[in-house]
């Protein structure tokens, strides 16, 4: 019995092998001698389908990924440490800074002071009756220009004027979204959103800081430059040097509000663990750049992902219908020859496989060309020329793993789109097919 079963299995495997060989032979000859124009058109459709699968969702996700990247590069670094909720500053700051400066995985750090301030843009006259003062609120950040440059390359955000120098005194850089002249929202007339009118490089402004105790601190600054970025943490803040801020504010040495850390990407999780261990006795918020991203951006990312998947699914359905129709028409027009092949003893499986191989050929070539276009042209192009969106510079998110999954999905869909129509035609009565009835 066992020998009988084994013999049957071996026989079946042998027949399967021969059917694959004959199916391959028929498919190759059919592709070689079919219309080159038709083949090119089908492959073109498969390329477009593949690009639809990978590029559309990649760009949708890339809008947000670009925003994440700018947030990391321009503000948070790889890790950002901030004061815990309800605390004025990062506890144990001096020891933490020292720990970070000596940690082997840390490439650079930028400790920042910050405080809420209001800025008065017009100093030479009082407001008229029923006139709002030319005032806006913001956060004044004191940073070391050299350290900040190492972490975020801060000077690249200066669009007017000059960057800060370490020994500057009496100067600020001001975020473009606080200035009527530079903000992209200035003409939106949004209630509650106020901009400084007439303030530009060289203007004198008055900065007022309210204290918990005692009178507010007031100091005049000269605007040295305007900083602009799609990251709100840059475009809506005011910047001066850490030395200056320590001079004018009643803060102790190294009581920082933020520390941005640039680190070895591969070691970020280890570094976070080390920092948490070091700061286990203190209240502090330690986040990777990913964790620090505002939740509304996460929601947009999820929505974009769903939108991308929906569009990709439609593309897959269109591709499968296209291949189905192509193979079905191909098989219907050759129904007589399929009947003849069955008549002279060609295994129906071999005939079905020939159509599957042809469909897979279209899928594989389409995917291969699509991959070359994606990774050889589109991704480098979008990396060098990001799409200019109001809230981010959109890039193309395409990873080899994601592309491999999409290739597999496309080939599975193509397999069935080739197999089903072939099966429908091949199972028809042999003699009816031969005689065309």
């Amino acid at each position: 019995m066992n020998r009988f079963k084994l013999g049957g299995i071996l026989n079946w495997i042998g027949e399967l092998f021969v059917s694959i060989k004959v199916g391959w032979f028929l498919a190759v000859q059919s592709l070689r001698r079919s219309s080159k124009g038709t083949t090119a058109l089908i492959i073109f459709i498969m390329i477009l389908t593949f690009l639809n699968l990978i590029v559309v969702s990649g760009i949708l996700l890339g809008l947000i990924a670009g925003s994440f990247e700018q947030f990391r590069e321009g503000y948070s670094g790889d890790i950002i440490i901030t004061a815990a909720t309800g605390r004025d500053y990062i506890e144990n700051s001096p020891a933490l800074v020292s720990f970070l400066r000596n940690h082997p995985d840390v490439q650079a750090i930028s400790p920042r002071y910050s405080a809420s301030v209001s800025v008065l843009g017009t100093l030479n006259r009082l407001p008229k009756k029923n006139e709002q003062p030319n005032r806006s609120g913001g956060r004044l950040v004191g940073l070391d220009p050299v350290s900040e440059e190492e972490v975020t390359g801060f000077s690249r955000f200066v669009v007017q004027g000059e960057p800060l120098a370490q020994d500057d005194s009496g100067y600020i850089l001001i975020g473009a979204n606080l200035l009527k002249k530079y903000s992209t929202f200035a003409d939106a007339n949004i209630p509650g959103l106020v901009f400084l009118d007439g303030v530009d490089v060289g203007s004198r402004v008055r900065v007022t800081l309210s204290q918990k105790e005692g009178p507010p601190i007031v100091k005049d600054f000269i605007v040295k430059g305007v900083v602009k970025s799609k990251v709100d943490e840059i475009s809506t803040r005011i910047f001066t040097t850490d030395r200056e801020l320590k001079r004018i504010l009643p803060i102790n040495q190294e009581q920082y509000q933020e520390i941005a850390i640039k680190a070895d990407h591969a070691r970020v999780s280890v570094l976070v663990s080390d920092i948490r261990e070091f700061m286990k006795d203190y209240s502090v918020r330690i986040q990777t750049s990913e964790e620090a991203i505002p939740s509304f951006l996460r929601d947009i990312e999820t929505t974009m992902g769903m939108l991308g998947n929906a569009i990709s699914s439609i593309a897959l359905v269109v591709a499968s219908i296209t291949v189905f129709i192509v193979v079905f028409i191909n098989a219907v027009t050759k129904r007589k020859f399929i009947g003849i092949m069955k008549g002279i003893g060609i295994n129906p499986l071999a005939i079905e496989l020939s159509y599957i191989f042809q469909a897979l050929f279209y899928g594989i070539v389409g995917s291969a060309v699509g991959l070359v276009l994606t990774f050889g042209f589109l991704k480098p192009y979008f990396d060098m020329n990001p799409i200019n969106f109001p809230f981010s510079d959109g890039i193309l998110v395409a990873t080899p793993e994601g592309a491999a999954i999409r290739v597999i999905i496309l080939l599975v869909v193509t397999f069935f789109a080739g197999y089903i129509p072939a099966k429908i035609i091949v199972r028809k009565n042999t003699l009816d097919s031969i005689l065309g009835r």
């Binding site: 021969v18 004959v22 032979f25 092949m341 002279i344 003893g345 295994n347 031969i434």
Partner: protein, 223 residues
Amino acid sequence: MIKAENIIKKFGQGELEFMALKDISLEIKDGEFVAIIGPSGAGKSTLLYQLSLLDEPTSGEVFFQGIRTSKLNQSEKTKLRLNELGYVFQDFALLPELTAVENVALPMLMQGMKHGSALAKAKIALARIGMADKLRNLPSQLSGGQQQRVSIARAIAHDPHILFADEPTANLDSANSRLVMEAFSELNRSGQTIVMVTHEDEYAHRATRIISLRDGELVGDGR
């Protein structure tokens, strides 16, 4: 040897029912060259399809080498057709995307023969019927007579037990028809069993046995 017992073949149902073959019994021995003749609608091709296992009779039985073919499943019938039978169709029935030599080699590839061996044997078969110089031609590049000769080469290349031919000269001019019939005669002289449907007396008389049908009934069986 192939044997038909009480073959009845009906088409349609109810009032539209039509009996194409009425209780046909016959036996064809190895080495015979049988011509099935009769007027149009006599059931010649229908009988050929039953004998060649391309169709199944409504009732009756076809035995091939003693095997009751009604007991075979589709897969076994396909294998039997592949290994034991050869077919020549009226309209040549070559696959348009395969060259002459590939068309002839195809059944042998399905038999599991290696590609090179199948092509070599196909070349021999084509040479045998005078088509050695047209190996790489596609069917569209061949005349009707040449296509039919390729079809014959395909039918005989794998050394079938019986060669079935359904009106093989119907679409050919007289010169090509003679060439095809000479090929059949030559094959039969070398021992090939042939069962051929024809409506042309001239070619039927090249056979060693003539079976006559009329209105689905066997009306003559002579040598």
